[in-house]
Every structure is written in C-alpha cells, then in structure tokens.
C-alpha cells in the first residue's frame, strides 16, 4: 500500500521511501523507515498530513504515492 491510500486516523508503518533526499529529510523529522505514524488529515486530492508524537508533516499527493506503508 502507498501513503496516498491511507485514511484519516489510521496508524501506519513506513516501509519504503525511494527518494534519497526525501529519505534524509524524513530521518531528520524523525520519520524514518520502520517508524509508526498516524494519519492526521487527508486534504481531498491534496497533501496527506502525518503525525508522530507532536510533530506534524504535510506531504504532497505525488510524494505520498511513492511512499510505501503498511497498517500498524
């Protein structure tokens, strides 16, 4: 499954981030592969907002489509 299919309120585990730069940035934000995050909000046709602890991050739809996740 990819991140753009996730529903609001769902908890998910990040399984793959293909892009090098995005992966490095994600590690800084504390959202590395293997981390469990919650889906805070899905803007219709727009970005997905994920949340880990108090940290919220908005990811564009195109990016979310590339990120592999599994239900946690």
């Amino acid at each position: 499954m990819t991140l753009d299919r996730v529903k609001r309120g769902q908890f998910i585990k990040i399984t793959a981030i293909p892009d090098d730069m995005v992966r490095a940035q994600a590690i800084r934000f504390g959202i590395a592969v293997g981390e469990v995050v919650s889906c805070e909000e899905v803007v219709p046709a727009g970005p997905i907002v994920i949340c880990k602890n108090k940290q919220q991050l908005a990811l564009g739809r195109g990016l979310a489509r590339q990120i592999g996740v599994a239900p946690a």
Binding site: D20, M21, V43, P47, K52, K54, L57, A58, G60
Partner: protein
C-alpha cells in the same frame, strides 16, 4: 570578493572576540533569545554573496550571531548552507530546542555535538510542553548529551540569565561512538572535526573546499543519529495524555478545503480591510495629503526657492513635479511607508502564528497545476509585499524549474504592496464590477502563464514536504519588532532607487526627452490601448518603480474602462528597477532579459485586448464587463484543458517509447 573558506565574513567582528552562534530549528524562538542577548545594538547585514540577512550583535567582549532556522546542517538549500558555515565557524553554539518537539530538534543538537563544537542547550517553551502534558528530565538530558541544558521560557524572560552564565561552561558533548574512527581518518586532511563530519555526510560544497570526494555515509550516520536521539528522548520524556486543544483543532480546520478556504478568505478580507481600505485610504490620506503635500512640500519649495529659482533646471530637478526633495520624499514616506508597514505586520502575524505552512498545505493541489507546490505560495504572498524580496525568497523552492516559474509569475502578475495601494484606491472609485474585471484578468493571466510554463518546461516539479508547527498566538512585541526591521530594510533599499527614478524622469522632462518618448509610444498608448498620450509617462515611470507608474495614472482624467485597461497594463508591465537588478543576479542574463521583454509584450497585449473587447462588446458598462470576464475565463479553461491533453500525450509517448 574572495570567499575565505569556513569562517564567516560578516562585518564589524573584532579580532579576538568569541563567536557565539544561536542555532535551532525554525520557530523555536531564536530571535527572542537574540534580542535578550544583544539589546539595542544589532547589525543586520547580508551574508557575503547572498541576500539572506544575518543579524549579529555584541555580547560583552564577544559577538553573538543569529542563523536561519534549520533542521540539520548540510546543503539541502541556501539557508542551510549559510547556517552550516556559520555554525561550523562558531566558538560556542547556543542551541535553542523546542521542548515540545524534542525528537525533531535534538537531531540538529546531536549533529552539532558530532561536529565537535562546544554547545549549551536552551530547552525553550517549557511552559507549552507542560501544558501539553510533557515532563522532561532536564538533568538526565544534560548527562546523556554531555552538555549543559537550561530550561527556558524565552518570551517570559525565564532562564535567560542562566543561559548567559552557562555559555562559559559550554563543552563538546557525547558524540556518536562509531563516528570517532571514521572522523579521525579524515581529520588530518581537513583540519576540523565539523568539516570532516560534513565531508563524511556527503556535503558536496564542504568536500569541494578540501578537494575531496564527498563521502557516502550520510544515510548510515543519519540513521545512527536518529536512533540515538530517539533513545535519549525515550529516557528523558514522560508523556501524560493531553487533550486536543483548540489550537490543534483550528490547525486542522485551516488545511481542510471546506473550512480552510473560508478561514483564508476571512484572513485575506481582514488584510484588505486594514491595508487596502484603512491604511491606503485613511492613513495615507493623512500622511500623503495632509502632511506631505499640504505641509512638507510647500515648506521645502519655499526653502529651496530662497537659493535656487523654482523654474530653473536644478529647481525642477529638486522641487518640480517629479522633484527629488518633493515627490520622492512624499511617495516614500507619505505613501509607501504606511502600506509597507501594514503589509509586513500581517506577514509577521502569519509567520509567527504558524499559519503560513498551513496555507501552503491547503493550496498545494492548486499550485501543482501551475508547476509549483504549496510552498510556492510563500513567495507569491510575499510578492504582494515586495516583488524584489519575494524573488529572493524563491530560493526556498526545491528545483530550478519551480524557481523559474515563480520568478516569472512574480515579475508578471503580482502587484507589490505599494502598487496595490494605489490600484486599490483607483478601483474603489469605479465600483465592484471594474474591480472584479481587474482582479479576474490578472488572475487568469497568472493561471494561463503558469499552466503553459508547467507544460512546456522540461522536467518535473518537486512535491510538498513541509513541517506544520503548532499554532501559536503571536507575541505582539515580536511581531512589531519584525515589522519594524523588515519595513526599515525595505525603505532603506527603496529610497535611493526611487530617487534615481525621479532624477531620470526630471532630466527627461527638462531635456524634452519625455515628450519625445511620449510621441514614440503614442501608437501603443493612444492607438492600441486607447489612452491619452500622457499615459506613456506613467509607463516610463513604471520601469523605475511599479507603484510610481500606477501613481502616475491617478492624476489623469480617464474613463472607467480606460482606467482598468491602464491598470491591467501597468500591473503586468515590467517589474521595478530593483526587481530587475535582482532578476539579473538570480537568473542567467538570457533568461532575465527574456522575462523582462515578455512582460512588455504581455502587458500591452492584454491591456489592449481588454480595451478592444470593451469596445467590441458595445461598452455598455456591467454587461460588457461580464462578457470580458467570461471571455478570459473561457480562454483560461481552454488553456488548462489543452495543457492537460498535451501532458497526457507526452506521458503516453514516454511510456510507449
């Protein structure tokens, strides 16, 4: 200027002074610390070779330097590169950490520790952490990091003195153990642990400085650091469940279209009421009319007239229609200053409250259509303040493609606050229909240009990845201070350019060149746009400053449709001299020249079309306007459709290859 590598090249740093650098993630309150440390004596200077402003000030015998907020040090963007160089050259780093976001913020802390630089951690916003049910074992955190940690609430001045006292006991902390052997191998080649670390982490710029190949251990080191930080946080943080506050609820509403669009509309309406109606009308009426035109200008004319006759060449240049001492001063202080202050006030409010990244999230979908992502809304909004400054901030966009699109849109379609003030004033006199026509034409031009660019430019724009900080009630003193600094810097930059513009126009006037140019442009102004020939003066002035151009139209007797056509033309017309200079600095000469030339063509083309359509539709007021609006909307819709088909065709062609 030769770039002396590593150390910072800021002015006024005395030899022998220790460099204390404030570092931290965005929105952690660094600027509040900076103000507490330095008091009044602050130097704001451009970082050498860039236009990013870096503040530094004296702290006793030493110097304290602020840095842009970053999540880590590397070369992911320009702000980061600058923060990296300043931090690497530091004698002591005061690392401001947001207690609510320990996991995120400690990544930078650990990176600075791994760089071997002495650190003191200011654990800020302790009150907010407590409110959210977070308990942090400060002593244990200090032990684990190996550096002094001081709990603070900077906005309430809590812990500031402790931090000042602890600077002397700053020390290099506990670095990640596995890094030691890796760094030691590099150390004798690059001379500093910090630079060695960045070479290992694959920083191309730092590696290049030492003639080394960038390392390929970034991911490995980042993951180790992340692991260590998470481990530290697990030990020091205790969380008791806190309910979702009104702030987090409002934050959620702001990014959902159903609630977010009305909230944005209300915010923009409030902005329009304050800047467009109150400041542009009431305040400017007082500052420009009553103070400058009625009191100041006659006084200056009288004073100068004692020495230099008003009708002489010098007299005209100094106190004539476009006089250096009359019009320049009146425009800058009477008209521009109130508008600019109003605009920066709102911008600082948006920035400090955490609303800006939420607007970016809300509009992301729309902006991907014109080849930008949600982040692109920041330079576009800033453009309504000052296009020049916004052009510089396009650096925060990720790809060159996005920068190119944003810069062209800024130069072409976004009127700056000064120009907006004048335009709003003129449109207000014409009524709603004409104002709607103006706004819609400019908006469709933006949509069409962006959509076409997104289709024809090669490559792909990047996706949104943005941190949503918690919503906060902005601190008024901080907002005012920001507004003050930004407005002052803007005026400092605008004044000489304005004076130059006035000088050029005056010289043209005295020598008769102005009349010559008016006649030269007559086929365009009179023949094509159907404006009086004097309108050419407004356009010539518009080359110098956009608002100058718009202001030049206010004194002319124009019919409503002429006014709108002229305003549309002057809005789309070339950006001001300052923007052009920045444009040539930021982009290649060829591209800058192309942008400049195309804005001439676009301005006269669209302005003329509006004026002709008005004639063709019988010129009967509201109905004619509605038809023009429908025509432009139709063209925009057709363009979007055509571009979609073209893109799909391109994608399929790609797949079948």
């Amino acid at each position: 200027m030769a770039h002396c590598h590593g150390p910072i090249g800021l002015k006024n740093i005395p030899a022998g002074a220790k460099k204390i650098v404030l570092a931290g993630n965005p929105n952690t309150g660094k600027s509040v610390f900076f103000n507490h440390f330095t008091g009044m004596y602050v130097d704001v200077s451009n970082y050498p070779g860039t236009t990013l402003e870096i503040s530094h000030g004296r702290f006793g015998e030493d110097v304290i330097i602020d840095t842009p907020g970053v999540y880590g040090i590397s070369s992911f963007n320009d702000e980061e590169s600058i923060a990296r160089d300043i931090i690497l050259s530091a004698d002591v780093v005061v690392n401001v950490v947001d207690a609510v976001h320990l996991e995120r913020d400690l990544f930078l802390t650990q990176q600075v520790i791994d760089a071997g630089i002495p650190v003191v951690v200011a654990l800020n916003m302790m009150d907010e952490a407590e409110k959210q049910g977070l308990k942090i074992d400060v002593d244990l955190l200090g032990d684990l990091l190996g550096v002094p940690v001081v709990p603070t609430v900077a906005v309430k001045k809590k812990g500031i003195d402790d931090i000042k006292n602890q600077i002397a006991s700053a020390r290099a902390g506990n670095m990640i153990k596995e890094l030691k052997p890796m760094l030691d191998r590099l150390l004798n080649r690059v001379g500093s642990q910090g630079e060695a670390l960045l070479v290992l982490e694959g920083d191309q710029v730092v590696a290049g400085r030492h003639g080394l190949q960038p390392g390929n251990c970034r991911e490995e080191i980042y993951l180790k650091r992340r692991e260590r930080v998470n481990d530290i946080v697990r030990h020091v943080l205790k969380e008791s469940a806190g309910g979702s506050s009104f702030g987090s609820l409002l934050g959620r509403w702001m990014i959902k279209p159903l609630t977010g669009i009305p909230i944005l509309a209300v915010a923009l309406y409030a902005m329009y009421q304050v800047i467009g109606v109150f400041i542009a009308g009431t305040v400017v009426g007082l500052t420009e009319e009553t103070i400058m035109l009625e009191k100041y200008e006659p006084a200056v004319r009288g004073l100068v007239g004692l020495v230099i006759p008003g009708e002489s060449t010098l007299g005209t240049i100094l106190t004539g229609e476009f006089g250096l001492l009359t019009m320049t001063v009146t425009y800058v202080l009477g008209l521009l200053m109130p508008l600019v202050i109003g605009f920066y006030f709102f911008l600082s409010l948006f920035e400090d409250s955490g609303y800006l990244p939420r607007i970016a999230t809300l509009v992301d979908r729309l902006l991907t259509g014109i080849g930008l992502n949600g982040r692109g809304v920041i330079p576009l909004i800033l453009g309504f303040g000052c296009v020049t400054m916004a052009t510089i901030t396009t650096r925060l966009l990720n790809t060159d493609r996005e920068r190119r699109i944003a810069i062209l849109l800024l130069g072409l379609t976004i009127p700056c606050s000064a120009q907006m003030g004048v335009i709003a004033g003129m449109l207000a006199g014409l009524g709603g229909w004409y104002a709607a026509l103006y706004a819609l034409v400019i908006f469709t031009v933006l949509v069409i240009t962006g959509t076409v660019l997104n289709t024809i430019l090669p490559g792909k724009s990047s996706d949104l990845l943005i941190d949503l900080p918690p919503l906060r009630l902005p601190r008024l003193d901080n907002v005012l201070k920001k507004t003050g600094t930004k407005s002052y810097n803007f005026l400092k930059e605008a004044f000489p350019l304005f004076a130059l513009g006035a000088l050029i126009i005056s010289v043209f006037q005295v020598t008769g060149v102005l009349e010559f140019l008016q006649n030269l442009l007559a086929p365009l102004t009179v023949g094509w746009l159907k404006l009086p020939k004097e309108a050419a003066t407004a356009f010539i002035m518009g080359i110098v400053r956009r608002d100058f151009g718009a202001a030049g139209l206010t004194d002319m007797a124009l019919a409503p449709d002429q006014t709108v056509a002229a305003l549309i033309t002057i809005t789309l017309f070339v950006p001001c001299i300052a923007s052009i200079l920045i444009l040539f600095k930021e982009r290649s000469k060829k591209e800058a020249a192309l942008i400049w030339a195309s804005s001439w063509v676009a301005a006269f083309l669209i302005g003329g079309i509006v004026s002709r359509l008005y004639g063709a539709f019988g010129g009967d007021g509201d109905r004619g306007i509605l038809r023009i609006i429908l025509t432009f909307t139709g063209v925009a819709a057709a363009t979007i459709l055509a571009c979609r088909l073209a893109r799909r065709g391109k994608a399929e062609g790609w797949q079948s290859r």
